[in-house]
Symmetry: C2
């Protein structure tokens, strides 16, 4: 399949547009063909209009149609084979095994949502039956289930060109819910976006669904994304990326005449706390695990551990020294795009202006977007005094925070903003002795991890990928796992409605055989 | 129990403050003792700080403690007896039976949330067990459940001085979740607020919980509410009232450095569509039911039907004439506050500037806040041309919209903004013949009602009280029914966490005996 620099709007390929741009090989810095064009304002509008026009038919489609659509997209991703992997590698400099495993994750997500839609119980059907004899008023028959919100805009992530981009988790969950999707592809990997976009367009076409169910727009300009989010027919936004980007879209959506929900997952420092007995007994091993996690894919994970804290004491110096040695021996490499490198260096410069020690640096990656793995060290009092030291440095950097005592570790945990994850290394009675520290951390993170690393987000129903602001714009939802579908749905209610006109999910005879809550009892 | 003009902050009564104000007897216009004072900024801050300080202990309290707290509040409301009913009647001019039934509803809500907390399954516990042998990576143990967000601000509603005020549905659901609550009482009924507030304070004290679990602030100034919503320690906001008020709080919350969710239920026109066969067969009876619903409590319900539309045809004239006659014969009465009367008259003046006919007016209520029930009539083309005619007139008014044909009724339904409810009267094959109209209505409302009236919101699990903007600021939640608890909670996740340190709800032996989803299967 050759790349043609195409947007897809309402099922139709469209190669024209505004300002040209191209992907960049992060290793060489060279532009990669073909040329893409900024989506013109009219194209943005056309995509949302097509989505709105497709809404009623798609929302009313049989669940099996949507499940099969998701499976067809998964099959299409696999069928793209090495061509897709090669293009992602060329555009992002991510290693092939990493890209292959990400593709497997994207496929798994699509399949999990297909299974969820097939099962059908996700709609949370509730039936409270009538009681005409109730005094003082008869009780009406009231039934509810979750229905799709409307067209969803999805902003692809630079660091997950497959699993959080064109056919990633946001798109899969929105399509599963019955919401048409307009993807704004990330400009760092337009080729991967086009390949995957064509797969989705073809799957929509073969399913006999209206083309407006899926559109893909390319662009680098904030104005393009802003126009998409401001469009009156748009119903919700999914975003994975930087805090600045996510907050800008959130603000735009909140200022609309009709505000719409934005779920932005904006990354995190993912603090790791190493408690005293764990530090004493296995500090070196923990240090090795943390550094390996932090340097995975040049630290380009939302869950990359960016802050490590411990209380000075037995094992502390060895722990710090192991981290230092591991960083010093590390080899940098290319990040996915020059803009990511620029952001990493800007963050390091901001931190360098504060009383922070550069404890170790690895070798600078020789590539065009090569970065230098960096271990920073700071006393807890300094980290407490400077909020910048408690916010993300996106890339291969770790801030090592030495606390003098339990009180400082507690104060640090209490000073944390929201993070996607918090990791605790504990042995013996550490958890009990530091219960206050752990409680403070728990209240500030979406996911708490014991004796592990935060990278590697298991795609399962119990997963929570989100967390208090600024980890996400709405901690009440998760971007990973089947519960992510809730972001794009709302409850709708039918009172005293005739059986024949009710959705199948709410009829007395339960033709879909789903689990329902009837008169307060789950069946 | 005598009224003392007291706020309650962190369990302590506080009578001082800023500018004085008093409740007003809507019948006579006379001020009602005692004098209340605008909550001083320091008092607002103290209430939120006390709530934040109480958060960890309250969130960690045993469910039975919270269930008993809710039941104690319900018992306390009942124990206030006639004194409470008399004060509500005096402050609002609502009829005693209406107030008694509202108290019963408030008690029911508290009891339902107590039962929900006792049962415990609402936390949506999910367990995905580990598989250390999985390839290529071992599968971790991942568990999640819903946890409270943090301190919640609740803004009392003028029209529900018991069921949506100090100890109403928002407070009950937030306390059930484990969130401390700071109520900003509605200034139209400070006496009822004080009576109920004292009950809650006493229940918190007897439960041995920190006083910060509940605070009540009086005030009339927007600045007081704004300071509450802007406080950095606040986590969420519940509001029931006008669009202007709800939107202002939403905007404030979205502009915070750390945005917080606002669930504002902002009222609605609650359109009623009378389809052709229903119109022909029982138009007069439908007209009588609509007018009775619209004039209940002077139209002071969020679900009061404010727009009625039908297609010109058999029965149409008789339907319109019955509505006209019923309005002409109606008797106005006092609304709950001079500000509500002023708002009603302002709305009528706005509409009078448009090509709208005043079809009938009832007698003006003789009371100080008396209003005149008003039936307005308009052609569909006019209603389509003027957005003001498709938005709420809060009070006893109905806009009767005559459509020339099916196409006009469909265009009208498609032009609706979000509403709490939509009602359809249908006979024979009406629903099938007007499926497009009903689908358009369904997509724009929280609750669809067949052959009934929108007033009378059943308090049950399947109820949805909310709906697309501007009915609410977030259609993904409901303000009525046990699902309302979801507004104040978020999922939290534990990975590879030791059994003994897990919340009881997530331990292998399930000591609370709750329903859980284990490896994808609900048990």
């Amino acid at each position: 399949m050759s790349l043609r620099g195409e947007h897809f709007v309402g099922g139709v390929a469209e190669a024209s547009g505004g300002e040209p741009f191209a992907a960049c090989d992060p290793t060489t810095g060279a532009a990669l063909a073909p040329t893409y064009h900024e989506a013109a304002p009219a194209l943005v509008d056309a995509a949302v209009t097509a989505a709105a026009d497709a809404m009623a038919e798609f929302a009313g489609s049989a669940p099996v149609v949507r499940a099969n659509l998701l499976r067809a997209i998964a099959d299409g991703l696999v069928a793209l084979g090495d061509e897709l992997v090669a293009r992602v590698c060329a555009e992002t400099a991510l290693a092939a095994p990493r890209v292959q495993s990400e593709r497997a994750r994207a496929v798994l997500q699509l399949q999990q949502f297909a299974a969820l839609v097939d099962d059908g119980s996700w709609v949370d059907a509730r039936i409270d039956r009538a009681d005409p004899t109730r005094q003082p008023q008869p009780k009406p028959d009231v039934r509810s289930m979750r229905v799709p919100l409307g067209p969803v805009a999805v902003f692809g992530a630079s660091n997950f060109p497959l699993a959080y981009s064109v056919a990633g988790g946001d798109t899969a969950s929105a399509l599963a819910a019955g919401c048409p999707v307009v993807v704004k592809g990330h400009p760092a990997h337009p080729g991967a976006s086009e390949l995957v976009g064509r797969v989705v367009v073809e799957a929509v076409r073969r399913a006999g669904l209206p083309g407006g169910v899926f559109s893909l727009l390319h662009g680098r300009s904030h104005a393009t994304g802003a126009r998409l989010v401001a469009h009156p027919a748009l119903a919700a936004v999914g975003f994975t990326g930087s805090h600045a980007g996510g907050r800008a879209l959130f603000d735009l959506a909140a200022r609309r005449a009709r505000p719409i929900p934005v779920f932005a997952e904006m990354g995190s420092m993912n603090p790791v706390l190493v408690l005293p007995q764990a530090l004493a007994r296995r500090g070196a091993a923990i240090a090795e695990a943390i550094v390996a996690s932090a340097l995975l894919a040049q630290g380009q994970f939302c869950t990359s551990p960016g802050l490590v804290a411990w209380i000075d004491g037995p094992g502390g110096d060895a722990f710090a020294e192991t981290m230092r040695a591991k960083f010093a021996a590390s080899q940098g490499g290319p990040v996915v795009h020059p803009s990511i490198r620029a952001g990493f260096e800007r963050s390091l410069a901001e931190v360098a202006a504060l009383p922070v020690t550069t404890a170790a640096q690895g070798a600078l990656g020789a590539a065009a977007t090569g970065v230098c793995p960096t271990l920073l060290a700071v006393e807890a009092a300094t980290a407490l005094a400077h909020p910048r030291l408690r916010s993300e440095i996106y890339g291969p950097a770790v801030l090592a925070v030495r606390c003098r005592d339990h009180g400082e570790l507690l104060a640090l945990a209490q000073a944390f903003d929201g993070h996607l994850t918090g990791t605790v290394h504990a042995d013996g009675d550490d958890l009990a002795a530091c219960a206050d520290v752990v409680a403070a951390l728990r209240a500030r993170v979406g996911r708490l991890i014991a004796n592990g690393v935060p990278t590697g987000v298991e795609v399962c129903g119990a997963m929570v990928h989100g967390g208090p602001y600024p980890a996400s714009t709405d901690a009440r939802f998760s971007a990973v796992g089947v519960t992510a579908i809730a972001r794009w749905t709302r409850p709708a209610c039918w009172q005293d409605w005739p059986q024949a006109a009710l959705p199948l999910e709410l009829r007395d005879d339960n033709p879909r055989g789903i689990a329902r809550t009837v008169d307060g009892v789950r069946r």
